[in-house]
C-alpha cells in the first residue's frame, strides 16, 4: 500500500502527520511511504531525515494524493483535496466531524474511508492511537510555559535575602488530559495549584498530582460512556461559576481546558469574573479555538483587558512544541495502521465490526457509516 503524508495547508499548523521514526515504522510494515517535500521543516526534520527513514520525498502533491491508498494529515482536508483522492483511499486525520457536514458528505461521495481521530474510542486499548489525548497532553504543558512567559512574576516560592517571593497561584479548570498535564507542569515549576472539574473522579486525579481540588457539590454530573463530560444544567453552572470566581480573583494564572464532546465548550469565566481578577493575571484558554471557556477571549490572539488581565487564546498550543507534537501524533497514526495491518497482504484492513473502527470510521464505501453522523 502507498501511504502519503502531504504538507499541512493551514498557515498556523506547525505539526506534520509523519516524522521519520513513524515513517520508518510504516516502511518496516511493508508499506510504500511518501512524504511531501518540506513536510517536517517546522518540526525540525528535513527531507533527508525522511529519506534516511526509507520514505520517498515527493514534490508533486496532487499526483501523490491521487495515487495514495492511505493519506495521513493533521488537519481536516480542504474539499478540493478530497476530490483528488481515489476511491477506497483511507484518509486519517482530525476531521471536526461535528461541524463539517459538507466535508463528510464529500468524503463519502468520493468513496473515501475517512477516519476521524476525534472519535477514536477512549478505551485503554485504543489509547496508543488516541491523538486527542496525545495532543491535549502537550497543550497542557504549553499552557503553563506560555503562562510563565507572559506572567509578570515567577512561579516558585523563594525565601531570599531581599524578602520572600510567594508562589504563584494557578487555577486549572477542567481536569482532562490537558488539565492534568497543566497541573503537573505548574506544580513542577513550584506553583500552588487549585483545580476544578465537574467529574468527581477527575478531582481525585488532580490530587494525585499534588494539586488542591476545589470541591463544589453540584449533584449528578457523571460523564458520558466515552469518558467525555456531559453538559451541565443552568443552576449547576451558576453555583460553579460563583465558587470559581472566588478562586479566580486570587489567582495569578488561570488555565481553562473544559470541552464537551461534540458541542461548543461551556463559558466558565464570564466578563465579570475577568474584571474581578488582579492586574497582571494571565488567563490561558485551551478551548479558545473551538469557542473558548472564557468570555472575551479572541481565538488565535492575546488581549489585555482594561484592568490589566491578559487573555491568551492561542489556536494551536501543541503546535508550539511541534517536534514532540509531531512525534506523538505520527506515532498515534503509525500505531493505528499497525494495529489494523495485515502483515501477509501488507494492507490496512477496514473492519467496521471492530470496536475501535466502529468508533472512528466516519465514511466508508460511499456512505457515512458512523452512527452519530448518519443524519
Amino acid at each position: 500500500m502507498k501511504i502519503f503524508a502531504p504538507k499541512e495547508t493551514a498557515e498556523i499548523e506547525t505539526r506534520a502527520a509523519l516524522d521519520p521514526a513513524a515513517a520508518k515504522k510504516l516502511v518496516d510494515l511493508g508499506a510504500v511511504v511518501e512524504v511531501e517535500s518540506g513536510l517536517g521543516l517546522k518540526s525540525d526534520h528535513d527531507d533527508k531525515d525522511y529519506e534516511a527513514a526509507g520514505a520517498r520525498v515527493v514534490s508533486r502533491r496532487d499526483d501523490a494524493l491521487r495515487e495514495a491508498d492511505i493519506v495521513l494529515r493533521v488537519r481536516k482536508p480542504e474539499i478540493s483535496d478530497v476530490f483528488k483522492l481515489k476511491e477506497g483511499c483511507i484518509h486519517i486525520s482530525f476531521l471536526e466531524p461535528f461541524s463539517e457536514g459538507v466535508l463528510l458528505r464529500s468524503l463519502a461521495t468520493q468513496g473515501v474511508t475517512a477516519i476521524a481521530l476525534e472519535t477514536v474510542p477512549r478505551t485503554t486499548l485504543a489509547q496508543k492511537m488516541d491523538a486527542i489525548s496525545s495532543q491535549a497532553n502537550l497543550a497542557g504543558y504549553v499552557a503553563v510555559t506560555v503562562a510563565a512567559n507572559r506572567l509578570n512574576s515567577i512561579f516558585p516560592m523563594m525565601m531570599t535575602p531581599a524578602g520572600t517571593i510567594s508562589p504563584a497561584k494557578v487555577f486549572v479548570l477542567g481536569i482532562g488530559v490537558a488539565g492534568l498535564q497543566a497541573i503537573a507542569t505548574a506544580k513542577r515549576l513550584g506553583a500552588r495549584v487549585t483545580a476544578f472539574d465537574v467529574r468527581p473522579e477527575a478531582l481525585e486525579q488532580a490530587e494525585s498530582l499534588g494539586a488542591k481540588a476545589l470541591r463544589i457539590d453540584l449533584g449528578d454530573t457523571a460523564g458520558t460512556d466515552e469518558g467525555y463530560a456531559r453538559e451541565l444544567t443552568r443552576d449547576q453552572l451558576e453555583k460553579q461559576r460563583l465558587e470559581q470566581a472566588k478562586v479566580c480573583a486570587q489567582s495569578d494564572v488561570v488555565i481553562t481546558t473544559a470541552k464537551v464532546f461534540g458541542r461548543r465548550p461551556p463559558i466558565l469565566i464570564t466578563k465579570d469574573v475577568v474584571k474581578s481578577m488582579k492586574r497582571g493575571t494571565v488567563v490561558v484558554d485551551l478551548a479558545a479555538e473551538v469557542g473558548g471557556n472564557v468570555e472575551g477571549v479572541v481565538p488565535g490572539e492575546e488581549v489585555i483587558t482594561d484592568e490589566g488581565v491578559r487573555l491568551v487564546g492561542l489556536a494551536n498550543y501543541e503546535g508550539m512544541v511541534s517536534k514532540h507534537a509531531t512525534q506523538v501524533y505520527a506515532s498515534n497514526l503509525a500505531n493505528m495502521i499497525e494495529h489494523f495491518w495485515n502483515l501477509e497482504d501488507k494492507r490496512f484492513v477496514v473492519d467496521l465490526e471492530d470496536e475501535i473502527q466502529c468508533g472512528c470510521v466516519i465514511t466508508h464505501g460511499g456512505a457515512i457509516v458512523h452512527e452519530r453522523f448518519k443524519n
Binding site: L125, R188, S208
Partner: protein, 454 residues
Amino acid sequence: MQEMLINLAYIVASILFIFGIKMLGSADTARKGNLVSAIGMLIAVVVTLFEKGLSYEWIVAGLIVGTAIGAIAAKRVQMTGMPELVALFNGFGGLASLLVGWAEYTKDEGHLTPFTATVVVLAILIGGITFTGSMIAYLKLSGKMGGTPTLFPGQKVFNALVVLAMLGLGGYFIATGTEWALYAVIGLSLALGILGVIPIGGGDMPVVISLLNSFSGLAASAAGFVIFNTVLVVAGCLVGASGLILTVIMCKAMNRTLANVLFGGFGAASGKGGAEVEGEMKAMSVTDAYYVLEAANRVIFVPGYGMAVAQAQHAVKELGEVLEKNGAEVSYAIHPVAGRMPGHMNVLLAEADVPYEQLTEMDDANAIMPAVDVAIVIGANDVVNPAAAEDPSSPIYGMPIINVHEARTVFALKRGQGAGFSGLVNTLFFRENTRMIYGDAKATVNALVGQFKD
C-alpha cells in the same frame, strides 16, 4: 567448692553463648560473635575436664581424634562445599547426643527413674533423627544423591506409622524399661530422619539443615537433662529456639511456609490431578515481604495510578535506594498508559528524583522479567492484567502489558479489591506467585522501608 566453680564457669560459658548468638545475627559483629561463642565452648569443655572421677584415657583419645578430623575437614573444604559440611557436622552432633543418652542408659540400666527414661528417649530420638536427616541433607547437597524429591505411593501414611510406632515404643520403654524397646526407638528414629528428608528437594536443604540444627540443640538439651547438666540444657535450648526462629526466617525469605518446605514434596507426588482452578488472593504481611525482598537480587517496581493517589513516589524511591544498598538491582518499569495522563508516572518519579537510568520502558522490562526476583506492583492494575495477553474475550486483549506474572514473585500493593480504570478483574492477583499487600501504597512502602532500617 570445685563443683561450685565448675558451675560458675558454666554460667560464664552460657553468657558467652548468648552474646555469641546475638552477635552472629548482625553483619558487623558476626565474626567476633563466633569467636566469643567458641571461647564459651572452650571454657565449658576445659572446666568439665575438672569434674571429679573422670578417667582420662578415653577422653584424651576422643578429643585428639575429634579435633584432628574436625580441623582437617574445616580447613580442606572448598568454599562451595561448606553447607554440606555443616550438615555433616550437625549430624555428628545429633549422633553424639544419641550416644550420650544411650551411654547413660547403659550406666543406670534397669534403675532409671521415669524422668530420666523420658529424657533418655528424647535425646536418642531427636539425636537419631538429626543424625540421619543431616546425612541425607549432606548427600543431597554434595550431589552424592540426587537433589530431586524421592517419592513413593503411600509415603505420608507410612511415615505417620513410623512416627506412631516410635512414640509408642518410647512410651513403652519409659513405662517398663524394656531394653529392646530402646533399641527399636533408636532404629526407628534413624529411619525417620531418612524418611523425613528424602521427599524434600535439594533446593530446600538449607532450611532442612537449619531445622535439624535446631533439633540437635534440643537433643543436646535433652542430654543435659539426662546428666543433669545445666550448661547443656541452656546452650542446647538456646540453639533449639534460635534455630527454629532462623528456620522460619529462612522460609519467609523464600516466600514459603515451613510446612510447605517440609511436606511440599508429598504434594508433588499427588498433584496435577484437578482442573485449572481460579486460585485465590493470598495476602502477605509487610514483615514477611521484607524477608523476601531482603533476599532478592533483582527487583522491579511497576507503578500505576494507585501510586499517584497514595502520593507514594518518595517512599518508593526510598525503598528503591534501600534495596540497592542491600545489593539488589532495582529498576522501574513504566507502562505507557499507567496513571491518568501521559507521563503521569514520569512526573511523579522525577519529583522523587528517581534517576532516569532506572526508568525502563515496557519492552525492556518484559525482556528481563523472568530473571526478576520480585516485581512490586504499586497501585497498578490494568497495565499488569495478564488477560490482555491471554484472554481474547477481554476488552483489553491485545494491549501490551508489563508481564510481572513472569517474575519469580509478585507483590501487589493495593488498598483492597478495587478494580482499575477499565473495571476488569485482574487474574494476576490470583496467581500462585502473587502476594497481595493490602493498604495504602505509601503506608505499605514506608513500612517496608522501616523493616530494612532497624
